[in-house]
């Protein structure tokens, strides 16, 4: 019973943490944005703390202080009125159901055992970011593992899986947030949220894979860009979006590449203030490179792969056989992440119906991401089928995170609310 109570309290703790006072998130009056903005800002502070090698004990004190301040403001600013609505309560029930499932099925995935939990245990055992160079894959970013360490050590029981409950919370928050974009009544938002939970039921959410974090932060990113599309010149909004990009940089190398693609797509169609965004983005890329050097991490995006990329080997990689293999396994992987098909169809439909800034950005991004997906496998030096079988679905899952908003926009366009 103690464990179930601890899980419930941990979820409550996460909810309170992700409701920063209005004074901090003053630039948005939209209550649906409070959770994503709070999570992104808090994640950024935690990332900075990890750079500074601040002891995990102090990080825990910091989070408890934030918890009590937020709790005070939840009552002071009457935020509990939002929290007690039926939609949010249902969201909590789903987080609880998924967390209980995790508490029973504790198995970690292959990469999670080989890399991510080891990086997480590094922090749990009192080491800091500088020690990661001595652990497997120092070319991989570590922020997901850091979050895992922080939230497992702050829990009352201290079990490892409490860190993964944060992943679940983040995942559900991102889906809950994106459903709030629907221009429909609450019932339909609830319906879509539940449907997405059923569709996305896969191992990436529970087994310590980092893709779920990329997926969730990517949803927050696209939500911010959509929500603030008319005020993208505002420095506060630019900062928020750049912070979100920066967090993605530190989760996975693929997330870094997808972020660059998303940014290029955005820059192509941004009506104004391009230069501010561009300078900011270059700065965060440079700071990543600089910090990688400081921490003695390997700057290779995938060490051990793509070693033979030059023109003389082109004929070896670009063959009909390889292209057909990629096509075959991409179709297989789409069955594991079926929503990618819906996204491509939605993109096609909405692009032919409506053609504004957001649609252009998302179309360019989806196209470039899929092109990257194709070339990443075409030029892989790993055995192609093996590489596709073991990673294509996870790569597609990340692409979905950056583009799932297209489905919502399409639903809004067709006003499907009338059907339900």
């Amino acid at each position: 019973m103690t464990e179930i109570v601890s899980i419930i309290f941990h979820i409550f703790f996460l909810i309170v943490l992700s409701h920063l006072p209005n004074k901090i998130i003053f630039f948005s009056k939209n209550e649906d944005l409070h959770i994503p903005i709070s999570i992104v800002l808090l994640s950024f502070v935690l990332l900075l703390m990890s750079f500074l090698s601040i002891d995990l004990k102090i990080v825990r004190y910091f989070l408890w202080i934030v918890f009590f301040i937020n709790l005070f403001f939840i009552f002071f600013e009457k935020k509990y009125l939002y929290l007690k609505n039926i939609r949010f309560l249902l969201f909590l029930v789903i987080v609880l159901v998924l967390s209980l499932n995790l508490a029973v099925n504790l198995k970690l995935g292959w990469d999670a055992q080989n890399y991510w939990i080891i990086k997480s245990l590094n922090f749990v055992n009192g080491e800091n970011v500088y020690n990661l160079k001595n652990l497997p894959r120092p070319d991989y970013p570590y922020f997901g593992s850091y979050l895992w360490a922080v939230f497992s050590s702050i829990s009352f029981l201290g079990h490892e899986y409490f860190g993964r409950i944060f992943y679940i919370y983040l995942f559900c928050s991102s889906l809950f947030t994106i459903c709030n974009l629907l221009a429909s009544e609450n019932n339909f938002k609830v319906f879509l949220f539940l449907l997405l939970i059923i569709i996305f039921n896969n191992n990436f959410i529970f087994q310590g894979y980092q893709e779920v974090l990329v997926f969730s932060y990517a949803i927050f990113l696209t939500y911010f860009i959509f929500e603030f599309r008319n005020s993208l010149g505002d420095e506060k909004i630019i900062s928020l979006i750049l912070i979100n990009f920066f967090i993605l940089f530190w989760i996975k190398n693929e997330a870094f590449i997808f972020s660059v693609i998303f940014f290029i797509s955005m820059l192509l169609f941004l009506p104004h203030k391009k230069i501010n965004f561009l300078i900011g983005f270059i700065l965060i890329i440079l700071s990543r490179i600089f910090l990688y050097k400081i921490f003695h991490f390997d700057l290779d995006l995938q060490a051990g792969n793509y070693e033979k990329i030059n023109l003389s080997y082109l004929g070896e990689f670009v063959t009909i056989d390889r292209i057909l293999t990629i096509a075959k396994y991409t179709i297989f992987s789409s069955f594991k992440v079926p929503i990618i098909i819906l996204i491509v169809v939605s993109n096609f439909l909405i692009f032919s119906l409506k053609n504004n800034f957001i649609i252009k950005v998302l179309t360019a991004n989806l196209f470039l991401s899929l092109v990257l997906f194709f070339f990443a496998y075409l030029f892989t030096t790993f055995p192609l089928s093996f590489h596709l079988i073991t990673s294509a679905d996870r790569l597609l899952f990340q692409i979905v995170g950056f583009n799932i908003i297209l489905i919502i926009l399409l639903i809004n366009k067709f006003k499907i609310k009338k059907l339900f």
């Binding site: 464990e3 159901v97 029973v104 055992q113 939990i117 029981l157 539940l194 939970i197 055995p383 093996f386």
Partner: protein
């Protein structure tokens, strides 16, 4: 009008309730509560993995508690699964357990069996590493007496293969033939199938090999170590270096 609205609302509520129940069922809500109440964290962790298979967390947990292993320990995992060293992870590498080590999926002498396809032999199971390959054994029919053959060994992973060895010419005789190899093949695919292809032989319809086996020994000889614990193929042994 009110009736229609009310009916419509009821329909929405019913659909949402069905979805919630589907999620409860899908994620085993009630069953999970029961399991959490019934089993503590350690037993759930052990139940999430096998006792002595793949990561073998059950066995690791047992020896960790019994021998009070609270430092990193060398774990040699011969199962095709990630190395579960994280189970003992501590940062201070110098504080490693010096006198013991763990072997998972250990086989002193492994016999790799093959099935015959049209013109080659494919290992039935995947092989983690091609180290310490001792010999190849096969039976040849009476028509094969005094024939010279050559064979190639490949590794194959999801249809992609890489040649790793070509033998010299070997003279074979009727009955069981043993070809000594005693080789380590490094830098090859992990967890791959092994393919053995006989050259200039299978083209000849009169020649037919059967019962191909590849013998592989382990780098660790258990007779040189003290065995503290054993469960199936999982061992806690003394470390001699």
């Amino acid at each position: 009008m009110l009736k229609i609205i009310s009916k419509n609302n009821n329909f929405k509520v019913v659909v949402i309730v069905i979805f919630i129940l589907a999620i409860f069922q899908n994620f085993g809500f009630a069953k999970n509560i029961f399991k959490i109440l019934k089993n503590n964290y350690s037993s759930r962790l052990i139940n999430s993995y096998a006792y002595c298979r793949n990561e073998s967390i059950g066995f690791l947990s047992y020896v960790k508690n019994k021998y009070k292993i609270d430092k990193p320990i060398q774990v040699n995992n011969y199962f095709i699964s990630p190395n579960p060293s994280w189970f003992f992870f501590k940062n201070n590498i110098n504080a490693k357990v010096q006198d013991k080590m763990i072997l998972l999926g250990y086989l002193e002498n492994e016999v790799i069996k093959f099935k015959k396809t049209k013109n080659e032999f494919v290992s039935i199971s995947d092989i983690k590493k091609l180290k310490d390959i001792n010999k190849i054994v096969f039976d040849a029919g009476k028509h094969n007496n005094n024939k010279e053959i050559k064979f190639e060994i490949y590794q194959q992973i999801y249809g992609e293969r890489k040649k790793i060895y070509t033998s010299d010419l070997k003279l074979i005789s009727k009955g069981t033939n043993v070809v000594e190899l005693n080789k380590n093949f490094s830098n090859t695919y992990s967890n791959a199938k092994i393919i053995i292809k006989f050259i200039n032989v299978l083209k000849n319809k009169n020649i037919n090999f059967i019962n191909l086996e590849l013998y592989k020994s382990n780098e660790i000889n258990l007779s040189d170590h003290i065995i503290y614990e054993k469960s199936d193929n999982c061992y806690l042994i003394s470390k001699n270096d």
